[in-house]
Symmetry: D2
Subunit: 318 residues, 4 copies
């Protein structure tokens, strides 16, 4: 059997570990594996290269993706897709593994519907915003990276007795913000899913100050508020110093955590096994701590934020 | 309500985060919380002190336990226990939270059976060797600590083209070794649960070398083999250089990972809520990614190593 | 002898290690040591407390400062200072150790001139922008923190084949930017001391791209350019994707590096020894790898950026 | 000009950064650069390969050495050396850069004396045990790695109220042990250069315990004592628990610290510049914070441990 593999969308730590798992598992079946560079763009441009055992040596602990990645709006155009499919056909690809985020899911579905080529989708995203899996590859690493940064900022917050607003990634979903805020013991967590009023946030800071807290931290998902504006608004009513910090791209990189590597390992292997089993189009995910391979074309219910943890985090930090 | 809390057995990263969660959750119910120093030894010696909100400030990211811990063989003696119970009674403790490892479980059960005081047991252990929970507080941190060390040793292994045997903790169980070995991409993983012969290990190294691998790594649980002896035996039949390293106590310490803090947060809060609900004697655990509070007196089936992952790890690294 | 100690200005990792060194060295002479909270503000408010051996236990590896710190513009007013001096006199302080940055230097000099109280100044700053010492406490830690972040961003830059502009601290001086850029292998380093034109920067990126470089990094001191504007300008002329990231406050915190702790150790001890020797007003610094205690009232030549390293960094990364 | 470069002896973090600096600096002169694999063994076996700009891309932050390294006792034999020189001649090598530790110094001198080929020696060693330079490439990284491990062990030491003996590298020299112990705030530091009696060490622990210290740490250079034996001897007279840990090979690996990369940058470039200047045989080093290129054939005075810091570390931790 001859399969191809690509990474697409925003990069996430553990993508390399997943590539390794896919390649090695496929080779264990004596398959031929072709890597596609820069996601669908490379498919379009016929940028395929053969991957042997050594091609994935020494990458398990590297952030990013050796196959490169691109957000590829072109794929929404039929013309572009048709060219891609032509390349898959010319290369006689009999199975495809797509490692990517939420935005790549519809691409995966389109390929399956429009070509019938068996496809395994492996969810990798630092945002954990993909329905159908409890956790995505890279999420755990991003939490730890952000947490490490906040632990550092806490040092300076405490020394200067300041309030700090810290923006973490998450435009539409607050999974990362909640996980980080909870682990950091943040006094306040703001997520896109749960509306808030600035006065409430200010009131909480004022109450904390009244209780004797001199330094406090709010973790803010980028989609929840414009953090520089929010800082100004809070500052207007808060007697101490208010500062903000945007963690930014650093959250995407770094050596994957053990857990991100473990998911990469399990998902990558399962993706190949699903192809071996002739499953057609599958979505590999984690459900109740078990790896599952569900039908890629089934729609899953939207994944919801754990409101109970959200509530509890505020109680414990109050 | 007046409750007491103690940590016992080997320390694990996240114990402090668990203490914080217990204290803060209890205070949110307006309870009185008493910390006991040095586990059951401190109970015996009446070393109790009142814990308020501020007592657990700034500890969420610290390894170890501010309540100190001791392995306490004395607790097996009836005389000792009776003295402990006297102290609990004198102090009018109406609920007890015990944070500890496998060895403390029977102590928790004894207290429940012999005093009837409601008790919540929170499993914390870097070994993850406690039946009844998929994961213990501290396990994820220890995996990452060991992994970080192995990533470093891999540098020198590669530069010198050496085989390295690396001992990680785990006297009776290979959970840590498997998790670490899998994430490190170790060529060989040795665990106490799965017997092996030295010749087989040697044969695998020789085969790897024949395939062109110049540096290889074996992760060895301390209970699987005496690593210095094993290194000597492998060296006797291996043409390249063989070295070993024992990671040791470093695996117990360090800032808890996000996941260890999360479990601490969830378990600690649940432990208190179980007391609030009048559950009697509970064991708080993670099951299929959900926090559960089961009857502490129920015996759980032994937790088994994931043999499929074990097998797969060797396939991918071969 | 009775001395007081305070930290002032922006916090820097290693301040706690310096406090420990000062307190312990003073106690080794059987002196009395008083800690002042929140810098000169605490002096003004008479916020002194006695420090014994245990007061500095377990802080050597913590970022920030247990004595807290404040930028204190009030100290420029004579009235404020007079009140401070009254407190020093009432408390019968016979020697003062000031740990702080460039802005605190003149405060130190004022105290010496206006009160005659012996004073030892210990330079601590993540910017390394204090003349009279080759290196300040905290500088090495900040370099490593920024470097770690850039190593992470490099992962995503490479995966997405992007150009990244990364802002590090340094409003007036490029010491941090140069050290970080050099260690990160950044293609371009921009510092306040060396003017540049945007077209030149763009030209270098274009040339790099022509040579086959798909991802490149510029390290930009905050005083050298407004990084979001610069990114827009570069993007206007650059065919690939350009992104920017502001590292921000994370650079101030974290466990001090070995070197920052070593300087803290050496400087702190020397500060006390200078008081013991009756030196009057001293500035403790590192000069040609030796700890020196020079006259605090002497003005030092401005410290210059190492232009040769600057030039060389660009040659090696070109 | 055509030069060759090799790494030899024990690997040290920053060797890759040094290789990068050498290659890039040489290419900036339009020279030809040849990498030799596995040190002198590769020279003997004619294992040379051409290195272009891209050969050293993306390695600045990797531990180990891409050129591999071997301790090579064969080089002491005339026959072996003659074969090596033949290869250098056949390859028309006009300059050689040797990156290595103390043991490679005599090899470098032999080559210079026996062939007259210009040679630049770059000291890289985690032990910092090379006379003629204040600091070696890799030393700062190893200190920080060991320090990080000890910070972790301190967590468990404190929680269990134990005394810990921690062995760090250093068979003949205590530079690493002193630097680590000082930065860790270790109560006791044992180095090969300064004899001690076990009773004294025990007495210090007992005195610490009398003062209220429940957990203490001794940093022990491997050449100072057999740490397992010492632990047993201390335990025999100490009422609390005594444990030991051997940090081992982890100290060799890991991403180089900023400072190790900086030295690599400066030394590597200077090594090439010395060849360009026709200096003959040079040793590149750091002296009073300046990079110097001295005559390789000059013998330097042995580098001495800073006894004053040693004494002071014990005073501050007492």
């Amino acid at each position: 059997m001859r399969i191809a593999i690509l990474t697409t969308g925003g990069d996430a730590p553990g993508m390399n570990a997943a590539i390794r798992a896919v390649v090695r598992r496929a080779l264990s079946f004596d398959w031929e594996v072709w890597g596609i560079e820069r996601g669908f763009q490379g498919m379009f441009e016929d940028d395929f290269h053969r991957m042997e055992h050594g091609a994935v040596s020494g990458i398990i602990n590297h952030g990013g993706t050796i196959l490169k990645t691109l957000r590829c709006p072109g794929f929404r155009e039929e013309e572009f897709r048709r060219e891609c499919y032509r390349k898959l056909k010319q290369r006689q690809i009999e199975g495809l593994v797509v490692i990517g985020g939420d935005g790549s899911l519809s691409a995966g579905r389109a390929i399956s519907l429009e070509t019938g080529i068996p496809i395994s989708f492996v969810p990798a995203s630092i945002d954990n915003d993909i329905a159908g899996t409890d956790e995505t590859i890279g999420f755990d690493t991003a939490i730890n990276t952000a947490l490490d940064a906040i632990d550092k900022i806490r040092d300076t917050a405490t020394s200067h007795e300041r309030v700090f607003l810290i923006e973490v990634m998450g435009r539409e979903k607050g999974f990362l913000a909640l996980a980080v805020g909870l682990a950091a013991g943040a006094e306040i967590i703001l997520v896109p899913e749960i509306p808030f009023r600035t006065e409430e946030v200010l009131a909480q800071f004022l109450e904390g100050r009244k209780k004797g807290k001199r330094s406090m931290i709010a973790v803010v998902a980028e989609g929840a508020a414009e953090v520089s504006t929010l800082a100004k608004e809070i500052q207007a009513g808060y007697p101490g110093e208010v500062r903000y910090s945007i963690l930014g791209y650093v959250q995407r990189g770094g050596a994957p955590s053990a857990r991100s590597r473990r998911l990469a390992f399990l998902f990558g292997a399962r993706a190949v096994e699903a192809l071996a089993e002739g499953k057609g189009a599958v979505f590999v995910g984690l459900e109740a701590n078990k790896v599952v391979a569900r039908n890629l074309l089934d729609t899953c219910e939207k994944k919801e934020l754990d409101q109970e943890s959200f509530r509890l985090a505020h109680i414990l930090a109050a």
